[in-house]
Symmetry: C3
Subunit: 359 residues, 3 copies
Amino acid sequence: MLAARDDIARGTDDVLVVYADIPLIKGATLAAMRSELARGARVVALGFRAADPTGYGRLIECDGRLVAIREHKDASVEERASALCNAGPIAFSGAEALSLLEAVTPDNAQKEYYLTDIVEIANARGFIARSLTADEKEVMGVNDRAQLAAAEAALQDRLRRRAMAEGATLVAPETVTLSFDARIGRDVLIEPNVVIGRGVTIEDGAVIRAFSHLEGARVASGASVGPFARLRPGADIAANAKIGNFVEIKQAAIEPGAKVNHLSYIGDARVGAGANIGAGTITCNYDGFSKHKTDIGAGAFIGSNTALVAPVTIGEGAYVGSGSVITKPVDADALAVARGRQEARAGWAKAFRAKHKKG
Amino acid sequence: MLAARDDIARGTDDVLVVYADIPLIKGATLAAMRSELARGARVVALGFRAADPTGYGRLIECDGRLVAIREHKDASVEERASALCNAGPIAFSGAEALSLLEAVTPDNAQKEYYLTDIVEIANARGFIARSLTADEKEVMGVNDRAQLAAAEAALQDRLRRRAMAEGATLVAPETVTLSFDARIGRDVLIEPNVVIGRGVTIEDGAVIRAFSHLEGARVASGASVGPFARLRPGADIAANAKIGNFVEIKQAAIEPGAKVNHLSYIGDARVGAGANIGAGTITCNYDGFSKHKTDIGAGAFIGSNTALVAPVTIGEGAYVGSGSVITKPVDADALAVARGRQEARAGWAKAFRAKHKKG
Amino acid sequence: MLAARDDIARGTDDVLVVYADIPLIKGATLAAMRSELARGARVVALGFRAADPTGYGRLIECDGRLVAIREHKDASVEERASALCNAGPIAFSGAEALSLLEAVTPDNAQKEYYLTDIVEIANARGFIARSLTADEKEVMGVNDRAQLAAAEAALQDRLRRRAMAEGATLVAPETVTLSFDARIGRDVLIEPNVVIGRGVTIEDGAVIRAFSHLEGARVASGASVGPFARLRPGADIAANAKIGNFVEIKQAAIEPGAKVNHLSYIGDARVGAGANIGAGTITCNYDGFSKHKTDIGAGAFIGSNTALVAPVTIGEGAYVGSGSVITKPVDADALAVARGRQEARAGWAKAFRAKHKKG
């Protein structure tokens, strides 16, 4: 802490010590610690009532004041009988913080500095120290990957409950992964097995179907995504648009009512309102060096299995024949077809099979 | 209830009152309530023994008869000591139903009609009223989205257990979502992370691999679906057929032993017995106005990345070259190829890279 | 057991009896049973302390020695008070095994041979019999599919904890399915909803993103797989290579730094270091009879929606235009394009719509 001596010396505000291995602590708890400082305490330690206190340091109280934090091994039998344990986080009044910290010495068997000594130092100076109690789950420590997963599970439970309380329907909340910053509107329906990554906004009444994966995307009211859809950063799905299965959208605006229903990659593109993108359509946005843009006009129809080689523009209401490779702009209301001519050889398949059966 | 006065007045059958917010109630429980009516009771209320009865109305019994249903706040200390709570559902003898309902009055502090008053009214008339007890979980009430999810989880648990009891193997049942009407045969294997929506039939010995999503589909004996397959309504997967990854089937018959193994969309189609559909095959079934049919004969071979522009017919045993766009019928046993001619420019790529590195 | 009389008669080693319906028993437990034999016991039975012992046979001990195994129905009130139950597995000293087995007779009401009689026979001969205790979960019996799923869940819990203890981060371990033989390195990150089948090796620092499915594959350090990726047997993903969404890799080497980002099928292939495979690329590896190989050189660029008709070779640094069907070899550093010519008909789409609106 003294590495921050210059900042602490300013003494202009409360100093709170929190730990990276206690990731579930709530803002409200930190605010409550500051409130105690505002009410006159100079030191506020956070505790919890442990189901099994063995091994934890204890908060020692007397007449409602915190008088010491005692390591388990140093605690008396009487002190050990208490289940009020030290959670770690501690707050100091800014005016006293530096002076208290400087009074901590390594005069102990381990020759270490114990931040917890500050409680006794404060008491010796006649300052008030107090404790606050948090739920044990909120201050669980993470010491290994299994505990990290348990903390993540606790956070997910919190995030799912918040989303439901705010009006989203999660059919199977235990199968939905939510980022802390997910913004999910009212009457949104989220089916099972969905991952919502960072920076996602889902507006009122949108539907996210099973096996969908969203990051950095917006889904507007009335839009439907999935099953098996992937929205990558910059995917902007407008009202009543529809993104279907095995579809990837990246840095693309899918305008109102447009449909990308199957097996497509739409990247660096605009798909105009009401346009229909056939199954297997690929925007060829990358040439090995740069990304190029595809612009599809409102009401356009892109036949299935089409490659749109960017940069390219498809005009409003234009029609692209299935299986085309489009490299040149298509005018509004025009038809474009770019495919090979179909040729046939009668009986060839029969002969081919016969040859292989012999071989 | 009196909105249904005309129907109730007929008095021809038992009247059961059930609540939309108690979705897990079983048919067997309702049948048991009717049995009590058949045995002479005129009113039958459903109760449950609450783990924590605080706040619930109580069923007040005397000598095996139900004498009243008392709101928690109106119950005596003695009555509150009982954990037998009112679940809500109630049944009346059809002959008495209307007369009992009409006797309910809003003569109380709240000026409301309490259906539960009927128990005391019936007793006053000398009728027998009784209670039946259900499991607390079966009559859990749904008041918010978190409780709705809990009810769904309880239902899923019931459905999964039923499927296993009937002979299906669910590797990780807690990851499988089942519709109430799923028909799942014996020795079916369902891998983790599968969603079975409405109207699905899976016959004996079929395999549904991980990350599959089925709705309105049939999967016959010996067929295999997934991983990452989506069967939409009308998908009919015949015996020993195989549907692989990133494949969508809609309104299509996949006949015995046919294979659609990868990255395909097969809609409004028939795939004949033993046919092989290459990776990336798309049936182009929609022209922006109508859906058209693709018919693929038995034993046909469709090369990869082929677009079949419907309506179109591929004859039995025909062979379609990879990367083709097929717009005209292909005769049985014939070869059809429809692709561009390959052209090369030596050194072009090297020059292209050199230009970009300079730029 | 006497079906194995000839082998048991050799008497050269310990004989352990284990049951197929107790699948979670650990090697360490079997080793501990052998240690007891090595310390002088001739018979060692495995027990567990049952939460609810009703119905289980009891291990009857006296002065630290096992004197009998008693069926629940034959046990005295005193014996039933003990929660030490018979788990089933039992071990014999090899020298005595056959003689003990032959002494078992069907002289009982059921006229059946009880293997458990051996404990009393051994005691009658003055041999030492002992019991060892396992955790109840470890020796849970599987009698139906629901119990099989519970055993699988217990095994998965064990496998996930092992992977985390060995240094992998599982964001949501409860959604990850692991094969018993999965080899997972340090600082591997596994996102939610992943299935790891048999024969998978994931090296240090690799990332497996959500909704991925791996079998028989290797993922090297720094490589990234998914979301929505499927690695089938023979997929070998080298260092820093990247496999993206809706991609299937089968029997293919993806060399260092190569990318297959979207909607592709790469089978029976080599993708050279640093090559870039565009969205929708399909290796057409099967002609209906044989599988053929695709060889893509280092640094090659395959444009999107390309079909590579195997056997075919793409030279180092070559460039294939989007939407091509490649059937002939492409030289190093060359450009190859194989697509139809784009044709346009002005106003066609407008007329097409007008016609359909009339109709």
